[in-house]
Protein backbone atom coordinates (compact mmCIF):
# COMPACT_ATOMS: atom_id res chain seq x y z
CA UNK A 1 0.00 0.00 0.00
CA UNK A 2 1.08 3.60 -0.63
CA UNK A 3 0.42 6.82 1.26
CA UNK A 4 -0.65 8.59 -1.92
CA UNK A 5 -1.13 7.34 -5.47
CA UNK A 6 0.16 10.63 -6.88
CA UNK A 7 -2.87 10.97 -9.10
CA UNK A 8 -2.85 14.78 -9.24
CA UNK A 9 -0.70 17.82 -8.60
CA UNK A 10 -1.36 20.67 -6.21
CA UNK A 11 -2.67 23.81 -7.89
CA UNK A 12 -4.58 25.93 -5.37
CA UNK A 13 -7.80 27.69 -6.18
CA UNK A 14 -6.31 31.20 -6.10
CA UNK A 15 -3.34 30.42 -8.35
CA UNK A 16 -4.81 28.87 -11.45
CA UNK A 17 -6.00 29.92 -14.90
CA UNK A 18 -9.52 31.23 -15.24
CA UNK A 19 -12.12 29.07 -16.94
CA UNK A 20 -14.86 30.66 -19.05
CA UNK A 21 -17.73 28.37 -19.95
CA UNK A 22 -19.71 28.72 -23.21
CA UNK A 23 -21.91 31.83 -23.48
CA UNK A 24 -20.39 33.36 -20.39
CA UNK A 25 -21.97 30.80 -18.07
CA UNK A 26 -20.58 30.86 -14.53
CA UNK A 27 -21.42 27.28 -13.70
CA UNK A 28 -21.37 24.14 -15.79
CA UNK A 29 -24.23 22.12 -14.32
CA UNK A 30 -24.66 18.41 -14.85
CA UNK A 31 -26.89 15.74 -13.37
CA UNK A 32 -25.55 12.22 -13.07
CA UNK A 33 -28.22 9.62 -12.30
CA UNK A 34 -26.75 6.32 -11.18
CA UNK A 35 -28.86 3.62 -12.75
CA UNK A 36 -27.81 0.57 -10.83
CA UNK A 37 -28.46 -3.09 -10.42
CA UNK A 38 -27.67 -4.69 -7.07
CA UNK A 39 -27.70 -8.47 -7.13
CA UNK A 40 -29.88 -10.24 -4.60
CA UNK A 41 -27.24 -12.90 -3.94
CA UNK A 42 -23.87 -11.60 -5.14
CA UNK A 43 -20.69 -13.70 -4.87
CA UNK A 44 -18.63 -13.28 -1.74
CA UNK A 45 -15.91 -10.63 -1.91
CA UNK A 46 -13.07 -10.83 0.62
CA UNK A 47 -12.99 -7.06 1.08
CA UNK A 48 -16.59 -5.96 1.23
CA UNK A 49 -19.93 -7.42 2.23
CA UNK A 50 -22.64 -6.27 -0.17
CA UNK A 51 -25.63 -6.39 2.15
CA UNK A 52 -26.09 -5.31 5.75
CA UNK A 53 -28.42 -8.21 6.56
CA UNK A 54 -28.24 -11.90 5.72
CA UNK A 55 -29.36 -12.42 2.10
CA UNK A 56 -31.98 -11.90 0.95
CA UNK A 57 -31.74 -8.40 2.41
CA UNK A 58 -35.33 -7.64 1.50
CA UNK A 59 -35.28 -3.99 2.59
CA UNK A 60 -31.99 -3.15 0.87
CA UNK A 61 -32.76 -5.01 -2.33
CA UNK A 62 -36.35 -3.82 -2.60
CA UNK A 63 -35.36 -0.23 -1.82
CA UNK A 64 -33.04 -0.26 -4.84
CA UNK A 65 -35.46 -2.13 -7.06
CA UNK A 66 -38.03 0.61 -6.41
CA UNK A 67 -35.69 2.99 -8.22
CA UNK A 68 -35.90 0.95 -11.40
CA UNK A 69 -39.57 -0.13 -11.24
CA UNK A 70 -41.01 3.17 -10.05
CA UNK A 71 -38.53 5.96 -9.39
CA UNK A 72 -36.61 6.20 -12.63
CA UNK A 73 -39.58 7.37 -14.64
CA UNK A 74 -40.50 10.00 -12.09
CA UNK A 75 -36.94 11.33 -11.93
CA UNK A 76 -36.66 11.36 -15.71
CA UNK A 77 -39.87 13.33 -16.08
CA UNK A 78 -38.70 15.98 -13.63
CA UNK A 79 -35.47 16.30 -15.62
CA UNK A 80 -37.48 16.55 -18.86
CA UNK A 81 -39.48 19.37 -17.34
CA UNK A 82 -36.35 21.48 -16.85
CA UNK A 83 -34.52 20.43 -20.00
CA UNK A 84 -31.78 18.52 -18.21
CA UNK A 85 -30.21 15.55 -19.98
CA UNK A 86 -28.79 12.93 -17.68
CA UNK A 87 -25.22 11.64 -17.77
CA UNK A 88 -25.88 8.12 -16.62
CA UNK A 89 -23.56 6.28 -14.31
CA UNK A 90 -24.63 2.84 -15.41
CA UNK A 91 -24.40 -0.61 -13.89
CA UNK A 92 -23.64 -2.08 -17.30
CA UNK A 93 -25.63 -5.28 -16.61
CA UNK A 94 -28.75 -3.12 -16.50
CA UNK A 95 -28.54 -2.99 -20.31
CA UNK A 96 -29.57 -6.66 -20.18
CA UNK A 97 -31.90 -6.59 -17.16
CA UNK A 98 -33.97 -3.48 -17.87
CA UNK A 99 -33.67 -2.42 -21.53
CA UNK A 100 -36.87 -0.34 -21.31
CA UNK A 101 -35.04 2.14 -19.09
CA UNK A 102 -32.12 2.27 -21.50
CA UNK A 103 -34.44 2.91 -24.46
CA UNK A 104 -36.15 5.80 -22.67
CA UNK A 105 -32.78 7.39 -21.91
CA UNK A 106 -31.61 6.91 -25.50
CA UNK A 107 -34.76 8.60 -26.78
CA UNK A 108 -33.83 11.60 -24.66
CA UNK A 109 -30.27 11.65 -25.97
CA UNK A 110 -28.88 11.08 -22.48
CA UNK A 111 -25.27 10.04 -22.09
CA UNK A 112 -24.09 6.71 -20.74
CA UNK A 113 -20.90 6.08 -18.84
CA UNK A 114 -19.77 3.08 -16.84
CA UNK A 115 -20.29 2.40 -13.16
CA UNK A 116 -19.02 -1.18 -13.43
CA UNK A 117 -21.09 -4.24 -14.25
CA UNK A 118 -23.11 -4.56 -11.03
CA UNK A 119 -22.92 -2.35 -7.98
CA UNK A 120 -22.41 -5.52 -5.96
CA UNK A 121 -19.09 -6.42 -7.69
CA UNK A 122 -16.10 -4.64 -6.28
CA UNK A 123 -12.75 -3.82 -7.90
CA UNK A 124 -10.44 -3.98 -4.87
CA UNK A 125 -7.57 -6.45 -5.26
CA UNK A 126 -8.34 -7.20 -8.88
CA UNK A 127 -5.48 -7.99 -11.24
CA UNK A 128 -4.89 -5.74 -14.23
CA UNK A 129 -6.42 -8.37 -16.49
CA UNK A 130 -9.55 -8.55 -14.34
CA UNK A 131 -10.02 -4.81 -14.10
CA UNK A 132 -9.39 -4.47 -17.84
CA UNK A 133 -12.12 -7.07 -18.43
CA UNK A 134 -14.65 -4.85 -16.63
CA UNK A 135 -13.61 -1.83 -18.68
CA UNK A 136 -13.74 -3.80 -21.94
CA UNK A 137 -17.13 -5.25 -21.00
CA UNK A 138 -18.36 -1.70 -20.27
CA UNK A 139 -17.08 -0.20 -23.52
CA UNK A 140 -18.33 -3.03 -25.72
CA UNK A 141 -21.76 -3.47 -24.19
CA UNK A 142 -22.62 0.21 -23.88
CA UNK A 143 -21.56 0.59 -27.52
CA UNK A 144 -23.63 -2.40 -28.58
CA UNK A 145 -26.81 -1.29 -26.82
CA UNK A 146 -26.61 2.49 -27.20
CA UNK A 147 -24.14 3.23 -29.96
CA UNK A 148 -22.18 5.42 -27.53
CA UNK A 149 -18.52 5.24 -26.56
CA UNK A 150 -18.40 5.78 -22.81
CA UNK A 151 -16.64 9.04 -21.92
CA UNK A 152 -16.57 8.64 -18.15
CA UNK A 153 -16.17 6.17 -15.35
CA UNK A 154 -17.35 5.98 -11.78
CA UNK A 155 -15.88 2.87 -10.21
CA UNK A 156 -18.48 0.29 -9.11
CA UNK A 157 -19.52 1.15 -5.54
CA UNK A 158 -16.48 3.50 -5.60
CA UNK A 159 -14.04 0.59 -5.41
CA UNK A 160 -10.65 1.00 -7.07
CA UNK A 161 -7.20 -0.42 -7.51
CA UNK A 162 -3.91 1.47 -7.72
CA UNK A 163 -4.03 1.26 -11.50
CA UNK A 164 -7.68 2.19 -12.20
CA UNK A 165 -6.93 5.64 -13.64
CA UNK A 166 -4.11 4.34 -15.86
CA UNK A 167 -6.40 1.71 -17.34
CA UNK A 168 -9.21 4.14 -17.98
CA UNK A 169 -6.91 6.54 -19.85
CA UNK A 170 -5.35 3.69 -21.82
CA UNK A 171 -8.83 2.65 -22.95
CA UNK A 172 -9.69 6.08 -24.31
CA UNK A 173 -12.03 7.10 -21.52
CA UNK A 174 -11.99 10.88 -21.01
CA UNK A 175 -12.77 11.45 -17.35
CA UNK A 176 -13.16 9.97 -13.89
CA UNK A 177 -15.85 10.87 -11.36
CA UNK A 178 -13.96 9.27 -8.49
CA UNK A 179 -11.82 12.16 -7.23
CA UNK A 180 -13.41 14.77 -5.03
CA UNK A 181 -10.51 17.20 -5.10
CA UNK A 182 -11.98 20.22 -6.77
CA UNK A 183 -14.85 22.36 -8.04
CA UNK A 184 -13.34 22.34 -11.53
CA UNK A 185 -12.06 19.71 -13.94
CA UNK A 186 -8.45 18.85 -13.29
CA UNK A 187 -5.67 16.90 -15.05
CA UNK A 188 -5.07 13.42 -13.61
CA UNK A 189 -1.62 11.82 -13.78
CA UNK A 190 -1.71 8.60 -15.78
CA UNK A 191 0.97 6.37 -17.33
CA UNK A 192 -0.04 7.11 -20.90
CA UNK A 193 -2.32 9.60 -22.60
CA UNK A 194 -4.37 12.41 -21.08
CA UNK A 195 -6.96 12.07 -18.37
CA UNK A 196 -9.05 14.41 -16.22
CA UNK A 197 -11.25 14.44 -13.17
CA UNK A 198 -14.69 16.05 -13.38
CA UNK A 199 -16.42 17.22 -10.20
CA UNK A 200 -19.00 14.68 -9.09
CA UNK A 201 -20.03 15.87 -5.67
CA UNK A 202 -20.34 13.29 -2.92
CA UNK A 203 -21.64 16.11 -0.73
CA UNK A 204 -24.61 16.60 -3.05
CA UNK A 205 -25.08 12.87 -3.73
CA UNK A 206 -28.63 11.97 -2.73
CA UNK A 207 -27.59 8.69 -1.11
CA UNK A 208 -24.96 10.36 1.03
CA UNK A 209 -27.39 13.10 2.01
CA UNK A 210 -30.44 10.94 2.60
CA UNK A 211 -29.07 7.63 3.85
CA UNK A 212 -25.72 8.76 5.19
CA UNK A 213 -26.43 12.16 6.71
CA UNK A 214 -30.15 11.40 7.16
CA UNK A 215 -31.25 14.80 5.92
CA UNK A 216 -34.98 15.46 5.46
CA UNK A 217 -36.03 16.04 1.83
CA UNK A 218 -36.88 19.73 1.95
CA UNK A 219 -33.53 20.39 3.61
CA UNK A 220 -31.82 18.60 0.70
CA UNK A 221 -33.43 21.12 -1.65
CA UNK A 222 -31.95 23.92 0.49
CA UNK A 223 -28.52 22.28 0.33
CA UNK A 224 -28.66 21.97 -3.45
CA UNK A 225 -29.65 25.61 -3.80
CA UNK A 226 -26.90 26.76 -1.45
CA UNK A 227 -24.34 24.69 -3.34
CA UNK A 228 -25.49 26.23 -6.59
CA UNK A 229 -25.59 29.80 -5.28
CA UNK A 230 -22.01 29.66 -4.07
CA UNK A 231 -20.62 27.92 -7.14
CA UNK A 232 -22.39 30.49 -9.30
CA UNK A 233 -21.01 33.39 -7.27
CA UNK A 234 -17.46 31.98 -7.35
CA UNK A 235 -17.92 31.07 -11.00
CA UNK A 236 -18.15 34.74 -11.91
CA UNK A 237 -14.35 34.83 -11.48
CA UNK A 238 -13.43 31.32 -12.49
CA UNK A 239 -15.99 28.94 -13.98
CA UNK A 240 -17.07 26.13 -11.68
CA UNK A 241 -18.85 22.80 -12.10
CA UNK A 242 -21.90 21.70 -10.13
CA UNK A 243 -22.92 18.07 -10.22
CA UNK A 244 -25.96 16.41 -8.69
CA UNK A 245 -25.30 12.68 -8.50
CA UNK A 246 -28.60 10.87 -8.14
CA UNK A 247 -30.18 7.50 -7.54
CA UNK A 248 -33.82 7.10 -8.49
CA UNK A 249 -34.19 4.79 -5.52
CA UNK A 250 -33.48 7.72 -3.22
CA UNK A 251 -34.41 10.98 -4.92
CA UNK A 252 -37.56 9.70 -6.65
CA UNK A 253 -39.24 8.18 -3.61
CA UNK A 254 -42.67 9.76 -3.34
CA UNK A 255 -41.81 11.82 -0.28
CA UNK A 256 -38.62 13.21 -1.84
CA UNK A 257 -39.30 13.98 -5.48
CA UNK A 258 -40.90 17.38 -4.85
CA UNK A 259 -37.70 18.59 -3.18
CA UNK A 260 -35.63 17.63 -6.24
CA UNK A 261 -38.14 19.29 -8.54
CA UNK A 262 -37.92 22.46 -6.46
CA UNK A 263 -34.10 22.54 -6.59
CA UNK A 264 -33.89 21.78 -10.30
CA UNK A 265 -36.42 24.48 -11.08
CA UNK A 266 -34.38 26.98 -9.10
CA UNK A 267 -31.04 26.06 -10.69
CA UNK A 268 -32.24 25.94 -14.29
CA UNK A 269 -34.16 29.18 -13.76
CA UNK A 270 -30.85 31.08 -14.00
CA UNK A 271 -29.58 32.12 -17.42
CA UNK A 272 -25.87 32.05 -16.58
CA UNK A 273 -25.80 28.28 -16.15
CA UNK A 274 -24.49 25.90 -18.77
CA UNK A 275 -26.70 22.82 -18.49
CA UNK A 276 -24.35 20.20 -19.84
CA UNK A 277 -23.35 16.54 -19.74
CA UNK A 278 -20.18 14.93 -18.45
CA UNK A 279 -18.81 14.43 -21.93
CA UNK A 280 -19.58 18.00 -22.97
CA UNK A 281 -17.78 19.43 -19.95
CA UNK A 282 -14.80 17.11 -20.43
CA UNK A 283 -14.44 17.86 -24.13
CA UNK A 284 -14.71 21.60 -23.59
CA UNK A 285 -12.05 21.46 -20.93
CA UNK A 286 -9.68 19.34 -23.03
CA UNK A 287 -10.08 21.69 -25.95
CA UNK A 288 -9.74 24.98 -24.11
CA UNK A 289 -7.97 24.46 -20.78
CA UNK A 290 -6.14 21.17 -20.46
CA UNK A 291 -2.84 22.42 -21.90
CA UNK A 292 -3.05 25.70 -20.03
CA UNK A 293 -3.61 23.85 -16.78
CA UNK A 294 -0.75 21.44 -17.38
CA UNK A 295 1.54 24.44 -17.93
CA UNK A 296 0.15 26.21 -14.86
CA UNK A 297 0.85 23.12 -12.76
CA UNK A 298 4.47 23.06 -13.98
CA UNK A 299 4.92 26.77 -13.29
CA UNK A 300 3.40 26.53 -9.84
CA UNK A 301 5.56 23.56 -8.94
CA UNK A 302 8.69 25.39 -10.03
CA UNK A 303 7.86 28.43 -7.93
CA UNK A 304 6.62 26.44 -4.97
CA UNK A 305 8.66 23.26 -4.73
CA UNK A 306 7.77 20.81 -2.02
CA UNK A 307 10.21 20.98 0.90
CA UNK A 308 11.91 18.18 2.68
Amino acid sequence: MKADLGLYEYLPWNARPSIKWPNGAKVAFWVAPNIEYYEIDPPVNPLRTPWGRPVPDVVGYAERDHGNRVGHWRMMEVMDRYGVRGSISLSVALLDHHPEIIEACKERNWEFFSHGIYNTRYSYAMTEVQEQAIITDSIENVKKHTGQMIAGYLAPALTHTERTMDLLAKNGILYTCDLFIDDQPFPVNVKEGKFISIPYSLEMNDIIVYNGSMVPPRRYADMLKANFDRLRADGAKNGTVMCIPLHAYAVAQGHRLAAFDDALKYITGHDDVWVATGREIAEYYYEHYYDEYVQAIKDFKKKNPARS
Binding site: P56, D57, A93
Partner: protein, 321 residues
Protein backbone atom coordinates in the same frame (compact mmCIF):
# COMPACT_ATOMS: atom_id res chain seq x y z
CA UNK B 1 -30.28 0.01 7.74
CA UNK B 2 -30.40 1.37 4.24
CA UNK B 3 -26.68 1.30 3.64
CA UNK B 4 -24.59 -1.65 4.74
CA UNK B 5 -21.60 -0.61 6.78
CA UNK B 6 -18.44 -0.42 4.69
CA UNK B 7 -15.61 -2.26 6.37
CA UNK B 8 -11.90 -1.48 6.04
CA UNK B 9 -10.12 -4.75 5.31
CA UNK B 10 -6.55 -5.76 4.48
CA UNK B 11 -6.07 -5.75 0.70
CA UNK B 12 -2.55 -7.18 0.75
CA UNK B 13 -2.76 -10.88 0.01
CA UNK B 14 -6.40 -10.73 -1.04
CA UNK B 15 -7.24 -12.07 -4.47
CA UNK B 16 -10.34 -12.23 -6.58
CA UNK B 17 -11.11 -15.49 -8.42
CA UNK B 18 -11.88 -15.18 -12.13
CA UNK B 19 -15.31 -16.63 -11.42
CA UNK B 20 -16.05 -13.26 -9.81
CA UNK B 21 -16.29 -11.89 -13.36
CA UNK B 22 -18.93 -14.40 -14.38
CA UNK B 23 -22.53 -13.17 -14.24
CA UNK B 24 -24.94 -16.11 -14.37
CA UNK B 25 -28.11 -14.00 -13.93
CA UNK B 26 -27.19 -11.28 -16.41
CA UNK B 27 -30.27 -11.41 -18.65
CA UNK B 28 -33.65 -9.78 -19.10
CA UNK B 29 -35.69 -9.15 -15.96
CA UNK B 30 -34.80 -9.90 -12.36
CA UNK B 31 -31.97 -12.00 -10.94
CA UNK B 32 -34.47 -14.21 -9.08
CA UNK B 33 -37.82 -15.87 -9.83
CA UNK B 34 -40.08 -14.41 -7.16
CA UNK B 35 -41.64 -11.71 -9.33
CA UNK B 36 -41.42 -10.32 -12.85
CA UNK B 37 -39.70 -7.13 -13.85
CA UNK B 38 -42.38 -4.53 -14.51
CA UNK B 39 -42.27 -0.76 -14.90
CA UNK B 40 -45.05 0.85 -12.87
CA UNK B 41 -45.61 3.49 -15.55
CA UNK B 42 -46.33 0.85 -18.21
CA UNK B 43 -48.98 -1.08 -16.27
CA UNK B 44 -52.69 -1.11 -16.92
CA UNK B 45 -54.23 1.67 -14.81
CA UNK B 46 -56.22 0.51 -11.77
CA UNK B 47 -59.52 2.16 -10.86
CA UNK B 48 -60.40 2.33 -7.18
CA UNK B 49 -64.04 2.42 -6.00
CA UNK B 50 -65.81 5.74 -6.66
CA UNK B 51 -62.90 6.76 -8.85
CA UNK B 52 -60.76 7.48 -5.84
CA UNK B 53 -57.22 8.45 -6.75
CA UNK B 54 -55.50 7.08 -3.69
CA UNK B 55 -56.26 4.00 -1.63
CA UNK B 56 -55.26 5.03 1.88
CA UNK B 57 -54.01 2.07 3.85
CA UNK B 58 -53.30 2.97 7.45
CA UNK B 59 -51.35 0.34 9.37
CA UNK B 60 -51.02 0.44 13.12
CA UNK B 61 -48.23 -1.66 14.59
CA UNK B 62 -48.91 -3.50 17.86
CA UNK B 63 -45.45 -4.52 18.99
CA UNK B 64 -43.92 -6.39 21.90
CA UNK B 65 -40.17 -6.04 22.50
CA UNK B 66 -39.05 -8.73 24.95
CA UNK B 67 -36.44 -7.74 27.51
CA UNK B 68 -34.35 -10.75 26.49
CA UNK B 69 -34.24 -9.85 22.79
CA UNK B 70 -31.14 -11.34 21.16
CA UNK B 71 -29.36 -9.08 18.67
CA UNK B 72 -29.48 -11.93 16.17
CA UNK B 73 -29.06 -11.49 13.29
CA UNK B 74 -29.73 -7.82 14.09
CA UNK B 75 -32.10 -5.80 16.24
CA UNK B 76 -35.43 -4.63 14.91
CA UNK B 77 -35.89 -0.86 15.00
CA UNK B 78 -36.91 -0.07 18.56
CA UNK B 79 -35.14 -3.10 20.04
CA UNK B 80 -33.42 -3.22 23.41
CA UNK B 81 -30.29 -1.10 23.79
CA UNK B 82 -28.77 -1.40 27.26
CA UNK B 83 -27.56 -4.37 29.27
CA UNK B 84 -30.29 -6.58 30.72
CA UNK B 85 -32.79 -5.62 31.99
CA UNK B 86 -33.31 -2.62 29.68
CA UNK B 87 -36.42 -1.44 31.45
CA UNK B 88 -36.26 1.99 29.92
CA UNK B 89 -36.69 0.84 26.31
CA UNK B 90 -38.95 -2.05 27.24
CA UNK B 91 -41.37 0.24 29.03
CA UNK B 92 -41.17 3.01 26.43
CA UNK B 93 -42.27 0.52 23.78
CA UNK B 94 -45.08 -0.91 25.89
CA UNK B 95 -46.32 2.66 26.46
CA UNK B 96 -47.76 2.40 22.97
CA UNK B 97 -50.01 -0.51 23.90
CA UNK B 98 -51.27 1.13 27.11
CA UNK B 99 -51.62 4.82 26.28
CA UNK B 100 -50.34 5.78 22.85
CA UNK B 101 -52.73 3.60 20.88
CA UNK B 102 -55.76 5.46 22.21
CA UNK B 103 -54.39 8.81 21.07
CA UNK B 104 -53.72 7.25 17.67
CA UNK B 105 -57.26 5.88 17.45
CA UNK B 106 -58.67 9.29 18.33
CA UNK B 107 -56.47 10.94 15.72
CA UNK B 108 -57.72 8.56 13.04
CA UNK B 109 -61.35 9.15 14.03
CA UNK B 110 -60.86 12.90 14.00
CA UNK B 111 -59.34 12.77 10.51
CA UNK B 112 -62.32 10.79 9.25
CA UNK B 113 -60.20 7.70 8.71
CA UNK B 114 -62.67 5.12 9.93
CA UNK B 115 -60.68 2.04 9.13
CA UNK B 116 -57.17 0.76 9.60
CA UNK B 117 -55.20 -2.44 9.52
CA UNK B 118 -53.85 -3.63 12.85
CA UNK B 119 -50.52 -5.41 12.50
CA UNK B 120 -50.29 -7.55 15.62
CA UNK B 121 -47.33 -9.35 17.06
CA UNK B 122 -49.30 -12.37 18.26
CA UNK B 123 -47.70 -11.91 21.68
CA UNK B 124 -49.48 -8.56 22.06
CA UNK B 125 -52.82 -10.19 21.27
CA UNK B 126 -52.13 -12.77 23.99
CA UNK B 127 -50.94 -10.26 26.55
CA UNK B 128 -53.63 -7.67 25.80
CA UNK B 129 -56.66 -9.33 24.19
CA UNK B 130 -58.52 -6.15 25.13
CA UNK B 131 -56.70 -4.41 22.27
CA UNK B 132 -57.94 -7.04 19.82
CA UNK B 133 -61.48 -6.43 21.05
CA UNK B 134 -61.03 -2.70 20.52
CA UNK B 135 -59.74 -3.28 17.01
CA UNK B 136 -62.61 -5.65 16.21
CA UNK B 137 -65.14 -3.19 17.57
CA UNK B 138 -63.78 -0.54 15.21
CA UNK B 139 -64.06 -2.86 12.23
CA UNK B 140 -60.30 -2.86 11.59
CA UNK B 141 -58.54 -5.73 9.88
CA UNK B 142 -56.05 -7.83 11.82
CA UNK B 143 -52.80 -8.58 9.98
CA UNK B 144 -50.20 -11.04 11.24
CA UNK B 145 -46.94 -9.40 12.26
CA UNK B 146 -44.91 -12.29 13.62
CA UNK B 147 -44.79 -13.38 17.24
CA UNK B 148 -42.82 -10.50 18.72
CA UNK B 149 -40.07 -8.08 17.70
CA UNK B 150 -37.35 -10.46 18.84
CA UNK B 151 -38.31 -13.41 16.68
CA UNK B 152 -36.93 -12.38 13.33
CA UNK B 153 -37.02 -14.58 10.24
CA UNK B 154 -33.74 -14.81 8.36
CA UNK B 155 -31.45 -17.10 6.42
CA UNK B 156 -29.67 -19.13 9.05
CA UNK B 157 -32.69 -19.72 11.26
CA UNK B 158 -33.54 -23.44 11.04
CA UNK B 159 -36.55 -24.05 8.78
CA UNK B 160 -38.61 -25.78 11.48
CA UNK B 161 -38.13 -22.83 13.81
CA UNK B 162 -39.13 -20.34 11.13
CA UNK B 163 -42.24 -22.33 10.24
CA UNK B 164 -43.15 -22.63 13.91
CA UNK B 165 -42.95 -18.84 14.41
CA UNK B 166 -45.12 -18.23 11.35
CA UNK B 167 -47.70 -20.82 12.43
CA UNK B 168 -47.82 -19.55 15.98
CA UNK B 169 -48.36 -15.98 14.86
CA UNK B 170 -51.11 -16.71 12.37
CA UNK B 171 -53.01 -19.34 14.35
CA UNK B 172 -52.92 -17.30 17.56
CA UNK B 173 -54.22 -14.20 15.82
CA UNK B 174 -56.96 -16.12 14.01
CA UNK B 175 -58.09 -17.64 17.27
CA UNK B 176 -58.06 -14.48 19.38
CA UNK B 177 -59.48 -12.12 16.74
CA UNK B 178 -61.89 -14.47 15.03
CA UNK B 179 -60.75 -12.89 11.75
CA UNK B 180 -59.46 -14.86 8.75
CA UNK B 181 -56.06 -13.04 8.90
CA UNK B 182 -54.95 -12.89 5.28
CA UNK B 183 -52.15 -10.34 5.55
CA UNK B 184 -48.57 -10.71 6.75
CA UNK B 185 -45.78 -8.37 7.71
CA UNK B 186 -42.44 -9.82 8.85
CA UNK B 187 -40.95 -8.07 11.90
CA UNK B 188 -38.22 -5.71 10.63
CA UNK B 189 -39.24 -6.85 7.10
CA UNK B 190 -36.69 -9.60 7.58
CA UNK B 191 -37.17 -12.77 5.56
CA UNK B 192 -35.30 -15.94 4.75
CA UNK B 193 -35.33 -17.22 1.16
CA UNK B 194 -38.33 -19.37 2.13
CA UNK B 195 -40.51 -16.98 4.15
CA UNK B 196 -42.95 -16.26 1.28
CA UNK B 197 -43.47 -20.02 0.79
CA UNK B 198 -44.10 -20.60 4.49
CA UNK B 199 -46.62 -17.79 4.90
CA UNK B 200 -48.48 -18.75 1.73
CA UNK B 201 -48.72 -22.33 3.03
CA UNK B 202 -50.59 -20.91 6.06
CA UNK B 203 -53.18 -19.22 3.87
CA UNK B 204 -51.66 -15.74 3.74
CA UNK B 205 -52.84 -13.90 0.61
CA UNK B 206 -50.87 -10.66 0.80
CA UNK B 207 -47.74 -9.39 2.50
CA UNK B 208 -45.93 -6.10 2.71
CA UNK B 209 -42.22 -6.74 3.27
CA UNK B 210 -41.04 -5.84 -0.24
CA UNK B 211 -40.90 -2.11 -0.52
CA UNK B 212 -40.09 -1.98 -4.22
CA UNK B 213 -43.37 -0.69 -5.62
CA UNK B 214 -46.20 1.78 -5.10
CA UNK B 215 -48.86 -0.67 -6.28
CA UNK B 216 -49.65 -4.33 -5.53
CA UNK B 217 -48.02 -6.94 -7.75
CA UNK B 218 -48.03 -10.77 -7.98
CA UNK B 219 -45.37 -12.67 -6.06
CA UNK B 220 -44.63 -16.37 -6.63
CA UNK B 221 -44.55 -18.95 -3.86
CA UNK B 222 -44.61 -22.73 -3.72
CA UNK B 223 -48.31 -22.49 -2.82
CA UNK B 224 -49.17 -20.23 -5.74
CA UNK B 225 -49.14 -16.48 -6.19
CA UNK B 226 -49.71 -14.09 -3.34
CA UNK B 227 -49.87 -10.30 -3.55
CA UNK B 228 -46.97 -8.08 -2.58
CA UNK B 229 -48.54 -4.90 -1.23
CA UNK B 230 -46.75 -1.56 -1.25
CA UNK B 231 -45.59 -0.04 2.00
CA UNK B 232 -43.97 3.38 2.00
CA UNK B 233 -41.44 2.23 4.55
CA UNK B 234 -39.41 5.45 4.59
CA UNK B 235 -42.23 7.61 5.94
CA UNK B 236 -43.27 5.17 8.64
CA UNK B 237 -43.25 7.22 11.86
CA UNK B 238 -40.55 5.14 13.54
CA UNK B 239 -38.34 5.33 10.45
CA UNK B 240 -38.67 9.12 10.29
CA UNK B 241 -38.25 9.79 14.00
CA UNK B 242 -36.12 6.92 15.26
CA UNK B 243 -34.05 5.76 12.28
CA UNK B 244 -33.58 9.11 10.54
CA UNK B 245 -33.91 11.19 13.71
CA UNK B 246 -35.82 13.85 11.79
CA UNK B 247 -37.76 16.55 13.59
CA UNK B 248 -41.48 16.40 14.27
CA UNK B 249 -42.59 18.59 11.36
CA UNK B 250 -40.41 16.63 8.92
CA UNK B 251 -42.78 13.69 9.33
CA UNK B 252 -45.74 15.82 8.32
CA UNK B 253 -43.91 17.29 5.33
CA UNK B 254 -42.85 13.88 4.04
CA UNK B 255 -46.33 12.41 4.37
CA UNK B 256 -47.79 15.41 2.55
CA UNK B 257 -45.22 15.32 -0.24
CA UNK B 258 -45.75 11.59 -0.68
CA UNK B 259 -49.49 11.97 -0.74
CA UNK B 260 -49.42 14.88 -3.21
CA UNK B 261 -47.23 12.92 -5.59
CA UNK B 262 -49.47 9.84 -5.43
CA UNK B 263 -52.56 11.96 -5.83
CA UNK B 264 -51.18 13.76 -8.88
CA UNK B 265 -49.76 10.64 -10.46
CA UNK B 266 -53.14 8.92 -10.11
CA UNK B 267 -54.62 11.65 -12.28
CA UNK B 268 -52.76 10.35 -15.31
CA UNK B 269 -51.67 6.82 -14.42
CA UNK B 270 -54.50 5.28 -12.44
CA UNK B 271 -55.01 4.56 -8.77
CA UNK B 272 -52.17 4.46 -6.28
CA UNK B 273 -51.79 2.98 -2.79
CA UNK B 274 -50.48 5.07 0.04
CA UNK B 275 -49.62 3.17 3.20
CA UNK B 276 -49.08 5.09 6.42
CA UNK B 277 -47.60 3.00 9.18
CA UNK B 278 -47.98 4.16 12.76
CA UNK B 279 -46.17 2.99 15.88
CA UNK B 280 -48.20 4.07 18.90
CA UNK B 281 -45.04 4.05 21.05
CA UNK B 282 -43.74 6.85 18.80
CA UNK B 283 -46.71 8.79 17.45
CA UNK B 284 -48.77 8.30 20.61
CA UNK B 285 -46.47 10.40 22.79
CA UNK B 286 -48.18 13.58 23.99
CA UNK B 287 -45.68 15.91 22.33
CA UNK B 288 -45.74 14.05 19.01
CA UNK B 289 -49.41 13.22 18.48
CA UNK B 290 -50.16 16.66 17.04
CA UNK B 291 -47.87 15.94 14.10
CA UNK B 292 -49.57 12.64 13.39
CA UNK B 293 -52.89 14.48 13.56
CA UNK B 294 -51.65 17.11 11.10
CA UNK B 295 -50.51 14.45 8.64
CA UNK B 296 -53.70 12.39 8.94
CA UNK B 297 -55.93 15.45 8.67
CA UNK B 298 -54.19 16.52 5.47
CA UNK B 299 -54.56 13.12 3.85
CA UNK B 300 -57.93 12.13 5.31
CA UNK B 301 -59.75 15.29 4.36
CA UNK B 302 -58.84 15.13 0.69
CA UNK B 303 -61.54 14.18 -1.77
CA UNK B 304 -60.99 11.09 -3.89
CA UNK B 305 -59.36 9.08 -1.13
CA UNK B 306 -60.52 5.53 -0.51
CA UNK B 307 -59.88 4.52 3.09
CA UNK B 308 -59.39 0.77 2.92
CA UNK B 309 -57.87 -2.23 4.67
CA UNK B 310 -55.15 -4.39 3.20
CA UNK B 311 -57.60 -7.11 2.19
CA UNK B 312 -59.96 -4.64 0.53
CA UNK B 313 -57.17 -3.14 -1.53
CA UNK B 314 -55.85 -6.56 -2.47
CA UNK B 315 -59.28 -7.79 -3.57
CA UNK B 316 -60.07 -4.70 -5.62
CA UNK B 317 -56.67 -4.87 -7.31
CA UNK B 318 -57.04 -8.60 -8.03
CA UNK B 319 -60.42 -8.08 -9.69
CA UNK B 320 -58.85 -5.80 -12.25
CA UNK B 321 -55.90 -7.99 -13.22
Amino acid sequence: MARPPIEQKEVAGASIPDSYLQYPHRSYGMDHDRYDWSLLVRRKPVKWPNNARVALWVNVAFEFFPLDTPAKPFKALGGMVTSYPDLRHFSLRDYGNRVGIFRVMDALDAAGINKATAAFNSKVAQRYPYLVDQVNAKGWEVMAYGVDMAKLLYTGLPADQEQAIIKESISTLREISGQPVKGWWSPARSESWDTPDYIAAEGIEYFCDWINDDMPYPFRTKSGEIVAMPHQHWIDDAMVWVHYKHQEQDFVDQVKDQFDLMYNEAGSQGGRVMAITIHPWMSGQPHRIKYLEDALNYVGKHKDVWVATGSEIMQEWKKQQ
